[in-house]
């Protein structure tokens, strides 16, 4: 319990500190706070793996992406606010950015801890409001457009999520009474007696509503804009942690639906949204011109992979899907951080304008290339492991045709990513762009992220396996 209080209190207090004190003090404190929060989350996860009741294993799994990202984003932000702050009102921008970043991290931590279905909706809506403000901070016309589309689409989508909460409540009135508290555990305990039609409809609304936040196609329209136009640390937080938060909400609904009405419906719906996301992302990846939008489409692709894993229903595939959410968070945040360094040095987001990244920025360019290879699904990185688990699970269930389709779409996405990573990273450095970089907090943050990306590919710690197994039992997605 102490750990839970600490992991929420640290970013909350840092939000207030960032408003009150100069950024030169709040910045390092944010970096330190991010690392301390990550340590608290890891300690809580170890307890959950050993069977501690709160937070439960599913919450613990979805806290990990936030730990990875908040632990590194605080460090990276040191470089970001000093380099990318506007020349006018720089200190005000820094303070606002740090305060909102800490508040956003706090809300991202709170969401996976919530098991009250109504509270979960409130938590997700709060993340939308805070992240929209962060996207707007860039002050450009593109940032305004992205923030507008994001808050409008996500809020309307979340309204459907609220319909899901109401329908779930209605389904529970019979067995739980007129005035029950909408706790997830309560619904699970009486799942067999819930109104099955209301549960079915609730899951559909949850998938569409929270799926909008998760970036599942065809509700993904906001995602490339928001990730592309927002500040780089925000893009990393949106892509790695926020999408996972929305997935967590969907899985809580799926867990109830799986008991109440069986796996068939959730499997089919996960397939539909998963394959649509993979298809859309794979082909959009081939024609990207903006480096951050390319990474955003890669996020849609990976959410499609996760949904496909949940749809296959084999234990190996479901475990792979949960692990994939963690691996994606690590690789994507690293890719965004490195892409931020490249765009700052080259002064453009256009892929055509970035050539010879490795020669120009030896650390950041190399790490961007490695993160790109990881996102493309190459060994020895974590994403390769989880994708293989998902596909092997799919083939093992006998869903050959679907597994082949997923494999083919992954191949298209692989080609798209590799094409752009090669284009930006390889070649000689440009004569007009200064080369070389100093080892600082940003490079340290990226190296820290890379250790996780590589580490999860080489070995999955037994505690994490244990945690994933417990989380699988909670979701009950396996058929």
């Amino acid at each position: 319990m102490t750990l839970v209080v600490l992991m929420i209190a640290i970013p909350a207090v840092l939000t207030i500190i960032s408003i009150l004190v100069p950024s030169r003090i709040a910045g390092p404190l944010t970096a330190l706070g991010g690392l301390c929060t990550a340590a608290c989350i890891i300690a809580a996860d170890l307890a959950a793996a050993a069977g501690a009741p709160a937070p439960d294993a599913l919450s613990a799994v979805f806290l990990l992406p936030v730990a990875i990202i908040y632990g590194t984003v605080g460090l990276y932000t040191q470089w970001f606010v000093n380099t990318e702050s506007p020349s006018q009102n720089a200190e005000r921008y820094r303070r606002e950015f740090l305060a909102l970043t800490n508040a956003f991290a706090c809300s991202e931590i709170v969401v996976p801890l919530l098991t009250n279905m109504g509270g979960l909706w409130v938590g997700l809506e709060t993340t939308t409001i805070l992240s929209a403000l962060l996207i707007r901070l860039q002050g450009t016309a593109a940032a305004l457009e992205a923030a507008w589309k994001y808050i409008l689409i996500a809020s309307c989508g979340l309204a459907l999520g609220l319909v899901a909460v109401v329908l779930l409540y209605v389904s529970g009135i019979g067995p739980l009474g007129d005035h029950h508290v909408p706790q997830w555990a309560g619904y699970v305990s009486v799942a067999a007696r819930l109104n099955p039609d209301a549960v079915r409809l609730a899951f559909i609304f949850a998938l569409v509503g929270f799926g909008t936040k998760m970036g599942l196609a065809p509700m993904h329209a906001w995602l490339p804009d928001a990730h592309g136009a927002g500040p780089t640390p925000t893009s990393a937080m949106l892509s790695g942690a926020l999408l996972s938060d929305a997935l967590y909400a969907i899985l809580r609904f799926a867990a109830i639906a799986n008991i109440a009405v069986g796996h068939g419906m959730t499997h089919i719906l996960f397939f539909i949204v998963g394959l649509t996301a993979l298809f859309m992302a794979a082909f959009f990846l081939l024609q990207q011109r903006d480096i951050k939008r390319m990474l955003a489409y890669s996020s849609i692709e990976h959410m499609g992979v996760v949904a496909s894993g949940l749809a296959f229903g084999a234990p190996l595939a479901v475990m792979g899907a949960l692990l994939h959410a963690i691996n994606h968070a690590a690789s994507k945040s690293l890719a965004f951080f490195a892409a931020g360094r490249l765009t700052e040095r080259y002064g453009t987001h256009e892929i055509a304008g970035i050539r010879g990244g490795v020669a120009t920025l030896p650390v950041s360019g190399t790490l961007f290339a490695l993160a790109g290879l990881s996102l493309a699904g190459l060994p020895p990185f974590g994403i390769f492991r989880s994708e293989i688990m998902i596909l092997a699970g799919g083939f093992r269930t006998g869903a050959w045709a679907l597994a082949v389709v997923v494999t083919l779409l992954l191949a298209v996405a692989f080609a798209g990513l590799l094409r752009w990573v090669n284009a930006t990273s390889a070649g000689d450095r440009s004569a007009t762009v200064p080369h070389g970089e100093r080892f600082g907090v940003a490079t340290f943050a990226m190296l820290l992220g890379f250790v996780v990306v590589l580490g999860l590919g080489l070995v999955v710690p037994p505690q994490l396996t244990q945690l994933l197994e417990r989380a699988m039992a909670i979701v009950g997605q396996t058929s």
Partner: protein, 224 residues
């Protein structure tokens, strides 16, 4: 479902309000002036707070009566006044796309109401609600039409109103279908919506300052 002859006064009142809510939602398509849209939102919110009060009084639920009062204060008085202040000095006409005119919009909306009714009729809900099937159909229809308004009206203010009416539909469903939904949650949802509106307002202000108009057709830089 309760037969018409068995309806009590609160039940008949609830049914009437549900029909009026839907009519107001449909009227959003007819309106091309921002101040009219804000008035329609205020009227719809008045109906929502009235039904909240009705359910609260019928069931002797003090928390619902309090929620009705808060809804009235914030959604009928505070938000409309705040929004009227925002649109001051801005072009108040909402463009209607030539391809989907008012008549076609209403036809699509009627089809969405049909889908809402059909979905609700498939769900044999056993709740403490007065008219569970009609309430569910009304909630779904308002939500679907809210989406349609947001899509078909390329104006930032109109889209905010669409979101707010959509939220009114869900709030109506929560109050009528799940009156026991905890009071604290109701307050949190209300608070969240208010904060969202403030953020919407901040963005609209910047949009108007940058482009001298609230037309979202100008927001087409990010594609692909």
């Amino acid at each position: 479902m309760t037969g018409l002859h068995q309806l009590t006064v609160p039940e008949a009142f609830a049914g009437t309000i549900a029909a009026l809510l839907l009519l107001v939602q449909l009227a959003l398509f007819r309106s091309v002036v921002l101040s009219e849209l804000i008035t329609l939102y205020a009227v719809q919110s008045l109906f929502v707070s009235a039904i909240c009060l009705d359910v609260g009084l019928a069931g002797g639920e003090l928390d619902l009566i309090l929620l009705a009062a808060l809804t009235f204060v914030f959604k009928v008085i505070v938000l409309p006044i705040y929004m009227r202040g925002l649109v001051r000095g801005v072009s108040t006409r909402v463009e209607i796309p030539s391809k989907v005119n008012v008549l076609l919009s209403l036809l699509i909306a009627a089809a969405l109401v049909g889908i809402g009714c059909l979905t609700a009729s498939q769900l044999p809900l056993k709740t403490g609600a007065f008219l569970p099937t009609a309430d569910l159909a009304t909630m779904l229809s308002i939500v679907f039409i809210g989406f349609l308004v947001a899509i078909l009206r390329p104006n930032a203010f109109a889209q905010v109103i669409a979101f707010l009416t959509l939220e009114n539909g869900v709030f109506f469903g929560a109050v009528t279908l799940a009156p026991g939904l905890p009071f604290v949650l109701g307050i949190l949802i209300l608070f969240d919506v208010l904060v969202a509106v403030v953020v919407f307002a901040v963005l609209v202000r910047i949009l108007v300052a940058l482009r001298s108009s609230a037309a979202t057709t100008q927001l087409q830089e990010l594609v692909g």
